[in-house]
């Protein structure tokens, strides 16, 4: 029998089962950035390449590969968690993880003149000091050195562990901070040393015990060519990283930290 509550329920079902496809999220002040770029970091062309086009590339690929599947209506974050353990869906993981990371990354920036007015919160600095990072300058050096000294594509994250301590990690390629099995913090392409081997065994052990991961990213640095090649050239990674630091909107970062 159709009751009123039933029809309401039906309405909800219709809404959630509506099919659609992935699209590029709109950033705050995006229109302005498209015209002027982000002062101190990207030119107009550089911003369009790193965000508008690259994000479009990722979301279109997500649509292309998830259309008609269970992942069709999920957000990139859900898709990356959903596919992280699937050995045959790693290409979908790539697009989802990149789309999520790149969004996380691009949200962090404002023009340099405005960025100068923001400061990391005392809470953040305090937490960093527990990790043997006494001041902002040391923090900057640690993050950027790790970003600059690694070969190939990847990400550098400041992450918050479940016990609320902070940690700097490097994720190679499309690695995600949310799941230890897909952190991709090693580079096994060259020689493999004993440390990496033991680390890998440790990961396998954790996966075997079905251990969960509650790590959350606080600050992301994009080391992919797509992020800087247009404005800084093939050899311009160091300049890009240095500029990037000056444009961080610390208000965004402060909010990401767990507040007591």
């Amino acid at each position: 029998m159709f009751h009123r509550s039933g029809s309401r329920l039906a309405g909800r079902i219709i809404q959630t089962s509506r099919r659609s496809f992935h699209d590029v999220p709109v950033l705050k002040n995006q229109d302005q950035y498209v015209i002027n770029g982000i002062e101190g970091l990207y030119s107009s062309h550089g911003f369009q390449s790193a965000w508008i086009n690259y994000q479009k590339y990722l979301t279109l690929n997500l649509s292309l590969h998830t259309s008609g599947s269970e992942n069709e209506l999920k957000t990139p974050f859900q898709i990356l968690l959903n596919t992280a353990k699937q050995t045959t869906e790693q290409h979908i993981f790539h697009y989802a993880s990149q789309a999520h990371n790149n969004h996380l990354f691009m949200e962090q920036f404002i023009p340099k003149s405005e960025a100068e007015k923001t400061r990391p919160s005392r809470l953040l600095l305090e937490r960093l000091s527990y990790q043997d990072i006494p001041d902002l300058e040391t923090f900057r050096e640690r993050m950027l050195l790790l970003a600059d000294s690694s070969f190939g594509q990847g990400w550098v994250f400041l992450v918050e562990l479940p016990n609320k301590s902070l940690k700097i990690i490097r994720c190679n390629n499309d690695g995600t901070p949310y799941y230890y099995g897909k952190n991709q913090s090693l580079d096994l392409n060259g020689g493999v040393d004993e440390g990496s081997f033991e680390y890998l065994n440790g990961l396998k052990e954790r996966a075997k015990n079905d251990e969960r991961d509650y790590t959350l990213p606080i600050l992301a640095i994009n080391c992919w060519d797509q992020a800087y090649l247009n404005d800084y050239g093939v050899t311009g990674k160091a300049d890009y990283l240095s500029n990037l630091w000056d444009c961080i909107n610390w208000d965004v970062i402060n909010k990401r930290l767990f507040q007591v």
Binding site: S20, F21, L64, S67, K85, Q90, N183, N189
Partner: protein
Amino acid sequence: MKPQVRASTVLERTSHYLKVGVLKEKPAWFDVVGAHPPILDLSKKPKKIDLKQTDIDPSLKLDNDKGSVEGKFFKTRMNSTDRKQQHNAISRIPKLQFLEDELRDVFYHQHPWEFSRPKNLIENQGDEYKNLDWSHMLQFTKPLDGESVVQRTLWILTNQNNEININNNNNNNESPKITLFEAYDKARFEFYRLRMEEEMNSAVSREESTMYGAIYPSTNLEWGVKNEQEYIDLWAKIAEEKTRVLEASRERNNSTASGKSTKGGETGLEDLIDSSSIWEQNFSSDIAGAKAKSKLNDSK
């Protein structure tokens, strides 16, 4: 099959039920459907209902308007010739035939494993297919599957031939038109290439992330077997119960009607399943033809 007319008369029937009191409460959809009654008549009509009766000339109709009933005979039942012709090919309900269906049939018989890919049947409007551009096989809003091959084949068939026509007008050369088979093959090979590409994409991604220290708790096969097992366990319980019921009823039948009815039921079921298709028909006839030919050759 009997034409289904009942679906479109749901409003009439429901209002009748309400009037006579079969239904006590108005269904939630009643007013809405009342405001927007179904306009589609789903029943299929034979091509000619009455063979002998031709359309009346409209001008005659004008004359007959007043008092035309008097002095005329009306036919009230069919005579023997009418009855004979009632089951003629032209009197029967026409079978809907589409080229697409034949292509689908051929494709899915050549690629039976394509059936194992799940298909999402939800549509927002029902006319999404209209927005698709088949000048390329990949679509953002539609997964790559057999339907893509079918649509792409038709696109190649119409557009390529148009192109050839234009060229012919220019050159006055007689180049052969692209046949259905050629168009289908072209689409099919594009399909293979895209599938290969996706498979390689997935394999390379996995290898690449492994080289950066990614680990997987289980392979896809193990994962699949594990998931399947959950359902098999459930099913095993149900199946056990159903078998018991079946055996019990069989015993009862045995005691009453010496088990004849169950046997008859089984054979009847086999007759009902129609496994013939264009693909099989064509090929079985081809094979038969080839065999006959070889026999002829042998005898020579």
